[in-house]
């Protein structure tokens, strides 16, 4: 109750001394000259709303009483390239509408734009630019992180910090944020968190769960990261309505699940990733099957990569559209423990070759994946080098023609769907304009025709002009 003044705004010349502001005691800080925001805060009582006038402020800020800090107009807080920028040590603090930029780049100190060490904070509509760590919540349950933009420093991935990190922040709500050029957005030991409507691009892991249970992840768009969502050692996670696009880093999973249990993955669009879904030891127990339902997996290099350690998944009612390898087994073993159909309902496979005579929407023949080249690729990924070559077709042909070398089917779908399911979350890119390719094709045709004309024109006038053809040594 007697938390007194502990806020400071320092001029840039002393910034160096505050590279590690956590080592500075509140009293020592209070003795320093207060910056303009610091003076405002010093006179605020708990529960007050402090309006910060527009302008650019340089320095570092510590908030040690429950106040609401609101930017009046364009307020920039510039860390001057050292240390953390804002440190929140009191609960129930709200920070709204600031531009916060330019932290240090010390990974050991984990320089962050906003570091929170207390519960129930609200960070809303802030823009974080050029920062190492963005928002770092430590032991701050029931916090709300809404509509912030977090842009990391364009460092090599090994030198970046996490755009968003929650450590023991149960029941937090993360909504409508945009994160780019960071390392991960990561939840550590945080249960009951809701992650909704965020976007992440050009990060390492768009969203990463470590030991975080009962997390709900909906309507996020994670595109162009190394991995979209990576769930590890977490239980009771629900992933619905997310878009996981073109995540193509060295692991390159749309959704990766490692030793995760009781999860539901529904209604997601998973496209253009190196591997749409990666299943490693999930579900971890047999408490509940892993549910994959109504997802669309399209144009991934591999739709599902499943380690043989994963058993008990029910993959039913999904669209598998033109993944180069629809389902891959990584390593030796089979997918026997996983189901691709249930109760007269399977998945839609774009490579299904059967037909539907009685028009009930279900293929009359079992769908078995057993192409020889896919099988080889799964066992030896290096052979992907020969994708798209005629040799690949030759191998497939041999596999079909000679039963002796035909591989065991990786999986069976006894009731494949004839038509893809509707795609509620489908939001295609801007429809491509047709005129450029028409121009390209037209100019190619024109080139060909002019070559023809060159040849034929010469033939017509051949004999007439031949007398003028110069030949060396005619003298």
């Amino acid at each position: 109750m007697l938390a007194l003044v502990g806020l400071f705004m320092t001029p840039p010349c002393t910034a160096q001394e505050h590279a590690a502001p956590r080592d500075v005691s509140p009293r020592a800080a209070a003795e320093r000259e207060l910056g303009p925001i610091g003076r405002l805060l010093a006179s605020a009582r708990p529960g007050d709303t402090v309006h910060v006038p527009a302008g650019t402020y340089r320095g570092h800020l510590r908030i040690d009483r429950p106040v609401t800090l609101v930017a009046d107009g364009a307020v920039v807080i510039d860390g001057g390239g050292s240390g953390d920028i804002i440190e929140v040590v009191a609960p129930d603090v709200t920070i709204r509408g600031f531009v916060i930029r330019n932290t240090g780049i010390d990974l050991d100190q984990e320089n962050a734009a906003i570091r929170v060490l207390a519960p129930r904070v609200t960070l809303e509509s802030n823009v974080l630019q050029d920062i190492l760590f963005g928002i770092d919540l430590r032991e701050s349950p029931d916090s709300r992180i809404i509509a912030n933009t977090i842009g990391g420093k364009r460092l090599d991935i090994a030198r970046r910090g996490d755009g968003l990190r929650l450590w023991r922040a149960d029941r937090a709500i993360i909504e409508g944020n945009r994160i780019h050029d960071g390392r991960d957005a990561i939840l550590w030991y945080s249960s009951g968190v809701i992650v909704r409507g965020n976007t992440a691009h050009d990060c390492r892991y768009g969203l990463h769960l470590m030991f975080s249970d009962n997390v709900t992840i909906t309507d996020n768009e994670l595109a162009g990261n190394s991995v979209g969502v990576y769930l590890m050692y977490s239980t009771g996670v629900t992933l619905t309505g997310n878009r996981l696009l073109k995540n193509r880093g060295p692991s390159g999973y749309g959704i990766g699940l490692k030793e995760t249990d009781r999860f539901t993955v529904r209604d997601n669009l998973i496209a253009g990733n190196r591997s749409g879904v990666y299943l490693d030891g999930s579900p971890f127990t047999d408490a509940q099957p892993g549910i994959f339902e109504a997802n669309t997996l399209a144009y991934n290099d591999v739709g599902f990569t499943i380690l043989p350690s994963s058993r008990g998944n029910e993959i039913v009612g999904n669209n598998f559209i033109d993944n180069i390898d629809q389902v891959a087994v990584a390593g030796r073993g089979s997918l026997d423990g996983n189901r691709f159909w249930k109760d007269e309902r399977g998945n839609f496979w774009s490579d299904y070759t059967g037909y539907d005579q009685n028009n009930d929407g279900i293929g009359d023949f079992v769908h078995e994946s057993q192409t020889l080249f896919e099988n080889l690729m799964d066992k030896r990924p290096a052979l992907r080098l020969f994708l798209f070559s005629p040799a690949q077709q030759a191998i497939e042909f041999v596999g079909r023609a000679i039963p002796a070398v035909r591989p065991e089917p990786k999986f069976t779908d006894e009731v494949p769907l004839m038509r893809p399911l509707p795609l509620p979350t489908w939001r295609p890119d801007v429809p491509p304009s047709h005129s450029p390719i028409l121009v390209a094709g037209g100019s190619l045709l024109a080139l060909g025709v002019s070559m023809l004309a060159l040849g034929y024109e010469r033939r017509r006038s051949g004999d007439g002009s031949s007398g003028e053809m110069p030949v060396r040594g005619a003298e």
């Binding site: 253009g272 080889l376 801007v430 390719i437 110069p470």
Partner: protein, 293 residues
Amino acid sequence: MSTAISVGDAFASRRPPSMASNTLCIARRELRDALKSRWFVLYTLAFVVLGLAVSFVSAAGTGGTGFSGFGRTTAGLVNLILLVVPLMALTAGAATIASDRERGMLAYLLSQPVSPVEVLLGKYIGLGASLLAAISLGLGACAVILSWRGGVSSPQTILWLAGLSFVLALGMLSVGIMISSLTRRASAAVGVAIFVWLTLVFVSDLALMAGAVALHLRIDELFALSLLNPLQVFKMWSLHAIDANLDVLGPAGLYAVEEYGRSLHAIFAVGLSAWIVLPLVVASVVLARKSPL
């Protein structure tokens, strides 16, 4: 034979002609002959028809979704090019000198005041132009159809494919001409050319796959070895150019991007142009030294 006479008539000219004009003169004759010949019409038609079929089938499979990049259509076209273009170029090159020799045409040509190198370059340029016509007609027709059908390929994709196919065709033409300069009979030359085609398209890849599995080749070795096959170079180059990304080719592709990055274009360019230059050099040496009769 009227064409031969036209070259012979050139004696009438009193201007001192240069090497370039000699070469161009022969190139024109070669282009004219090629465009008249059955193989050109046949291959061009086949290329257009197959290309259209591939485009149609692929577009039907995807149902026009908004995703660009290395789609199914492009993959199908690359596959088609890998099969047809080398066959076209190899047989065209193989037929040219050997059949001239068989008919006594080569002796006649070389009795004129033109050097063997000029004959060779002239034939090369003329046939190259006819291949350019076939490729641009085929892919141009595909592009027009794709735009009409709302296919997902971008104009850059088609232009890159056309350009790289032409480079590949030039390389294979060069090999064909080398074969032609080394064999006496046209039928034998075409036979050898088809054997070489089979080797490049199927045998070498299959052998390399088997080798990779049996000998546990490292990915850098696998990548280096695959650079020896011009068809693989073409495939990797088109993937790289269209998608700026080779990771679809698995560990070896990732290795290539991480290890060589921006110089990949140069590596592929060297890998393909070696197939243009070296066989031509061999062919010209052979023609210059061996009795053409």
